[in-house]
């Protein structure tokens, strides 16, 4: 090889034609394929034979397609969650326990308010079923009721008349009639005599052990006075550090059976609900009934669930982003949202609020005096609510975290045969002056609520993918198929978008110039004076001064042989060798 060629090759090797310096796109691609860090491209250029090259092109394209597909899958599955269940043994906060008597008000106290309604109900029962006297209760015999029906003008039956459709449907209608009246009457009760409610306590909590004596009163519209235990009184929540019935809440309930309202409720007992301290107890929806003359032992298991909110799921953390105002003064829950939504709609549509839920701002409870049509409106609204036409179910979202107590209920006889006598007498003493007669077994119920064990199970959602793991998955895919990295992507971007575009624009610019030149015959002869590129016809780059590379690529244009410098006369190599050996010698000499 001629020495000139050799130098040229060496320079070419050491000085890569990068980027826009490449004359054509093809050259650029070639350069890219040879120098890129990805693995497929080099093979395309290097391999010989058309078939092989085609195969390599095919492989490379497949790899690119696979990368794109897999990465798309990774991105699409980014917002998935994995669920983890953890069980800890730890000291647990005791939940709030709300206990209500099924009977909301003492019969003796609300008898006056309900007397009209009761008489009408009796009348209706008589007309519909031909049955006149309720003989089950002795105390009712004293009441003069036969005359009342004749005397007073029926006011309730007029507002919601009871119709006799068909044999099958009667009972249903009758029931609707009763509950409807009940609601209405109670609405008036709360208006007329709201002070009565707080005086009456239809139930006494007799005794409880271990964890304190803080029952707080809570007035429930359907169940009257309810009592909540451990409801964050004085900002302290009681907690248990031992499982088992000994370390829980033990309550003996006095359920005054004699004071039950005959038409309002038909079952005897108490209702209990276990809930969080901040939560509103929906005792009519999710309460557990307690039988009288029984010991009900309720073992609890705590399960806590945490969901991830946006963008993983639609749940809400605290209900602030739900467009429904919370009319309950408690923490958000789906149940509360639905009730609030219904109440708000009720106030909007009917102009008054329903009695069993709290009042929104500036609204009144419904009664016949001010809102004669409310019952009709209410039923219409409730039907559309149940059919999900009000949009409440769409608007309300579930809460992200909730605690749930799984209850295992078992019953036993209490008091037992042999202990009945002394237990009843001492319980009577406990009641003291409030009750002057001896207690009956069926007036009492014993309730034990305890943690079965302190294993606290939490179900937690975790994001399945994090940004680091997504990136490393990307890296894995890119590396697996093509040994590529972000650097390669930047390279690709650089080569395909910046460099090739610049080449294309340059070509276009050149073409346009040529075209312009051809369109306009040389306006002046000076235009021909473009002797750049050493007047070489092989070089098309007109605008740029020739780079070193392009200059090297030029064939030697003229026969003019540049007289090379004669090789130096002195023998450098030999000198150097001699020197180095000499140097060691001298050094050795120096050292010695």
């Amino acid at each position: 090889m001629a020495p000139g060629e050799k130098i040229k090759a060496k320079i070419k090797k050491n000085l890569p034609m990068t980027g826009p310096q490449a004359p054509t796109i093809k050259e650029l691609m070639r350069w890219y394929c040879l120098n890129t860090n990805t693995h497929g491209c080099r093979r395309i250029v290097v391999s010989r034979g058309r078939l092989r090259r085609l195969l390599w092109i095919l492989f490379t394209l497949t790899a690119v397609a696979l990368i794109v597909w897999q990465c798309a899958l990774l991105v699409l599955s980014f917002y998935t969650v994995s669920v983890s269940i953890k069980v800890h043994f730890q000291k647990l906060d005791f939940p709030a326990v709300t206990i209500c008597n099924i009977n909301p008000y003492k019969y003796s106290a609300v008898k006056d308010l309900l007397s009209d309604l009761e008489q009408e109900t009796r009348g209706a029962l008589k007309t519909l079923f031909g049955f006149s006297e309720l003989e089950s209760r002795k105390r009712r015999e004293a009441e003069p009721l036969s005359s009342a029906w004749e005397g007073t003008r029926p006011k309730f039956i007029n507002s919601v008349p009871l119709l006799f459709f068909d044999q099958d449907e009667t009972s249903k209608v009758a029931r609707d009639f009763l509950t409807g009246q009940k609601r209405k009457v109670r609405g008036s009760v709360i208006h007329k005599a709201s002070d009565i409610m707080h005086v009456h306590q239809s139930k006494q909590v007799v005794g409880f052990k271990l964890i304190g004596r803080n029952f707080t009163l809570f007035h429930h519209p359907m169940h009257g006075n309810c009592y909540t235990f451990n409801n964050r009184v004085n900002d302290t929540v009681l907690s248990t550090s031992m499982g088992g019935s000994e370390y829980g809440l033990q309550v003996i309930l006095y359920i005054n059976e004699e004071e039950y309202n005959p038409f309002l409720v038909s079952s005897t007992g108490a209702k209990v609900i276990v809930h969080q301290q901040e939560e509103y107890p929906f005792i009519e929806d999710v309460g557990t009934e307690i039988e009288t003359a029984m010991a009900t032992s309720i073992g609890m298991h705590l399960t806590e669930s945490f969901k991830l909110s946006e963008p993983y799921s639609q749940c809400t953390e605290d209900g602030k982003d739900v467009p429904i105002t919370n009319i309950y003064n408690t923490a958000y829950s789906l149940q509360i949202c639905l009730h609030s939504c219904f109440q708000t709609k009720m106030v909007e549509k009917c102009g008054c609020a329903q009695y069993s839920q709290p009042l929104p701002k500036g609204a009144n409870y419904c009664n016949y005096q001010q809102h004669p049509n409310w019952m009709y409106c209410y039923y219409k609204l409730q039907q559309s609510f149940v059919r999900e036409e009000l949009g409440c179910q769409a608007v309300c979202r579930e809460a992200c975290s909730f605690k749930e107590w799984t209850l295992t209920t078992s019953l036993a006889q209490w008091p037992s045969e042999v202990s009945e006598k002394w237990l009843l007498s001492i319980l009577t003493w406990d009641q003291g002056q409030q009750i002057n007669k001896k207690l009956n077994k069926t007036d009492l119920a014993k309730l034990l609520i305890f943690y079965k064990d302190l294993n606290h199970r939490s179900v937690m959602e975790n994001p399945d993918n994090t940004i680091p793991s997504l990136l490393s998955n990307f890296g894995g895919q890119l590396g697996l198929w093509m040994s590529c990295s972000v650097v390669c992507i930047i390279e690709i971007f650089e080569v395909f978008f910046i460099d090739s575009l610049s080449i294309i624009t340059r070509h276009q610019w050149q073409k346009a110039k040529e075209w312009w030149a051809r369109r306009q015959p040389p306006p002046c002869p000076e235009a021909a004076l473009r002797p750049q590129g050493q007047d070489n016809p092989a070089l098309h780059i007109d605008e740029d001064p020739p780079t070193f590379t392009s200059a090297l690529r030029l064939p030697p244009a003229l026969r003019t042989q540049v007289p090379g410098t004669p090789p130096p006369k002195y023998n450098t190599l030999r000198l150097e060798r001699a020197f180095s050996s000499q140097l060691t010698d001298t050094q050795v000499l120096d050292e010695s």
């Binding site: 043994f89 002394w422 406990d430 294993n455 002195y570």
Partner: protein
């Protein structure tokens, strides 16, 4: 060999002086490394070079950061959970059955006689506004009473609560301490409390109760504990309900079974308890089908008439499902079954399998828990309940120097009673109320890794029905007592069905979320993603660092050498010989630069050399020296 060669080369380089500079090394590394960034830094133009330099640095820091994240995640020892639900052939759970009353009253009457009489009088005293002195005066055993008496606390005047002893007038005649109005107080004004004294009555506390019921019950239980703890275990077991009296009928699947299939265990709270399918001696019974047909059916007679009246007020059978070979803590985890009903219990086995250390703090078999398991005497497995109770008993023995009757005894200790340990009731109630004690126990006991719970779905119905009542009672009486009369009643019999549900297991299994493979693949992914690197690149980098150190060493050596040289030159204080001189010295043997001779001479060196004959040296020689050396070292570097 290679190492030796390499070392030789290094030595050579050392002798020659630092052949490589840091810059050369870096350039060589960047050019030849397999990571993607550095190459660009070398072979691009100045602007791009800067950009690539920044990018490379950025990516390197990103990789380091992400690696940190991953390693931290790995070291947090997270677990992932797999949940499986289904039906499979499983071992039927062990079923423990107790009667709510620990003893048959007819058999313990003689032990409790004094106490019961006292209790009746106490009740009378509390209830009756005016005490009738006539029947109180009969011989009561006041030794029990004197130890821990019940008192009435009159709180009608909140600032001056008056403490009234119930038997104030009777046993010591100090009538002045209980004035007349105290007698007529009721629950609103008065509280019943228990007086607990220690240190021979010098320090007393009043344990208050909100209701008299609670106070009386608690007092009675305390006294009964005292009595029973003095009776040996064997006697107590005889006083409890025998198996043949409790278990009337038993059917497991299609196989009939009897009380003989039950293992007896004495549980202080409930007397004799019977365990079915405990797996201690017999083979464990499996159940292959869901549904009541293939489960355990039992008929029990709890004999409510024979209950100890003051000890238990609740009547029913107590039962619990638990794992084989585990001790049943039936008081805490058991459920009731009511007399006169049929109770059906559908069972779902809820199993939890945890990973041990370092994933969680659980223990596999309790051997690493610092508390001696007192229940190991029953040959049962470790459970946290057992540990907590053992811990309590430990504390009890430490503080009160006697063991509580409800828990097993360690070796060489005694149960508490009033005679030997007069302070025990005071000590026990203080210990029971102390939160510190419980917290200490909880922190010492760790939960067991494999935990099996039985989720129960309970439903009840009346049994026997009115029409079938007669014949069922007849058959049951006949079977048990061989008598024609009906000896069982609705108040006593309990029917139990225990069976697997349609899905009988739910297993929660933990597995490590991030194992070493996960870590490596993520590390590789990150490195590959940002820089296209692999482990080999790391090795390359390590090699470069070793080279770097070599260069440093070489430089240091060279530096020290040059220092020494300079010192030597300081001694000779003359300019070094030129190349020409050296060449001359090499070729011309007669040539002597005789530098040493003229060391102290102050005359310029050049003047001296002038007269020496020979070819004049080329002037540019010294300049060429440097680049030639570079080329030589470069070629040598390629060889390496």
């Amino acid at each position: 060999m290679h190492v030796k060669k390499y070392l030789l080369k290094c030595l050579h380089r050392l002798q020659k002086g630092p052949g490589y500079t840091y810059k050369e090394l870096l350039v060589w590394y960047c050019n030849n490394t397999n990571t993607h960034g550095p190459k660009r830094v070398i072979c691009e133009g100045p602007k791009k070079k800067a950009m690539w330099f920044v990018l490379t640095l950025l990516f390197t820091s990103l990789v380091c950061w992400q690696w940190g994240v991953f390693i931290k995640t790995y070291l947090s020892w997270k677990v992932s959970v797999s949940l499986s639900i289904g039906f499979k052939n499983m071992d039927f759970p062990a079923v423990t059955i107790c009667n709510a009353s620990p003893f048959q009253y007819s058999k313990v009457k003689h032990l409790l006689k004094d106490l019961d009489e006292l209790m009746e009088v106490v009740l009378e005293r509390i209830l009756a506004p005016e005490p009738s002195h006539a029947n109180v005066t009969k011989a009561l055993n006041f030794t029990i009473w004197n130890h821990t008496p019940l008192v009435l606390i009159d709180e009608r005047d909140p600032s001056h609560p008056v403490v009234l002893d119930l038997f104030g007038e009777d046993y010591n005649g100090s009538a002045s301490s209980s004035p007349a109005p105290g007698r007529s107080c009721n629950a609103q004004g008065c509280k019943v409390a228990m007086r607990l004294c220690s240190f021979n009555g010098t320090v007393c506390t009043y344990q208050n109760f909100t209701s008299a019921t609670q106070a009386v019950t608690e007092w009675y239980v305390l006294q009964a504990t005292n009595i029973f703890s003095q009776v040996p275990r064997k006697e107590l077991m005889k006083m409890g309900y025998p198996a043949e009296r409790l278990i009337l009928a038993c059917l497991f699947g299609a196989e009939p079974c009897s009380y003989r299939n039950f293992t007896s265990i004495f549980y202080p709270d409930y007397g004799n308890c019977y365990i079915f399918n405990w797996g201690m001696t017999d083979k464990i019974l499996p159940s292959a089908n869901p549904g009541a047909e293939f489960g355990l059916k039992l008929i029990l007679d709890i004999g409510q008439e024979d209950y100890v009246p003051f000890l238990t007020s609740t009547a029913g059978a107590r039962l619990m499902l638990h794992e084989q070979k585990s001790y049943p803590f039936i008081k805490d985890e058991g459920i009731y079954a009511m007399a006169g009903t049929e109770t059906s219990i559908g069972v779902l086995v809820d199993k939890l399998e945890r990973k041990g250390r370092p994933y969680s703090q659980c223990t596999m078999n309790g051997s690493d828990v610092p508390i001696q398991n007192l229940y190991s005497g029953y040959n049962t497995t470790y459970s946290i309940q057992a540990c907590l109770r053992s811990c309590f008993q430990d504390h009890m023995i430490q503080n009160c120097s006697c063991g509580h009757y409800l828990y097993p005894l360690p070796h060489g200790e005694k149960y508490c009673n009033n005679q030997d340990f007069p302070d025990w009731a005071y000590c026990y109630s203080a210990l029971q109320r102390s939160v510190d004690q419980r917290e200490a126990c909880i922190s010492q006991c760790s939960e067991s890794c494999n935990d099996t719970k039985y989720k129960m779905t309970i439903s009840m119905a009346e049994w026997p029905s009115e029409s079938s009542e007669d014949w069922i009672f007849h058959v049951l009486s006949q079977e048990r007592d061989q008598s024609a009369n009906i000896t069982v009643s609705r108040k006593g019999i309990v029917k139990l069905n225990i069976y697997f549900q349609e899905f009988n297991y739910r297993t929660i299994q933990e597995s490590p979320a991030n194992n070493i493979v996960w870590l490596l693949s993520n590390l590789g992914g990150q490195f590959g993603f940002w820089m296209g690197g692999s482990v080999l690149c790391l090795i390359e980098f390590g090699e470069i660092i070793i080279d770097f150190m070599w260069i440093t060493i070489i430089k240091l050596v060279a530096f020290s050498k040059s220092l020494r040289q300079r010192r030597a030159r300081m001694r000779y204080a003359g300019p070094p010989p030129t190349v020409a001189e050296l060449v001359e010295a090499h070729t011309n043997f007669s040539f002597q630069p005789d530098v040493a001779d003229r060391g102290p001479d102050t005359k310029p060196y050049a003047e001296q050399t002038l007269p020496i004959p020979g070819t004049p040296p080329p002037n540019y020689d010294s300049l060429r020296l440097q680049p030639l050396d570079v080329i030589e070292s470069d070629s040598e570097g390629d060889v390496i």
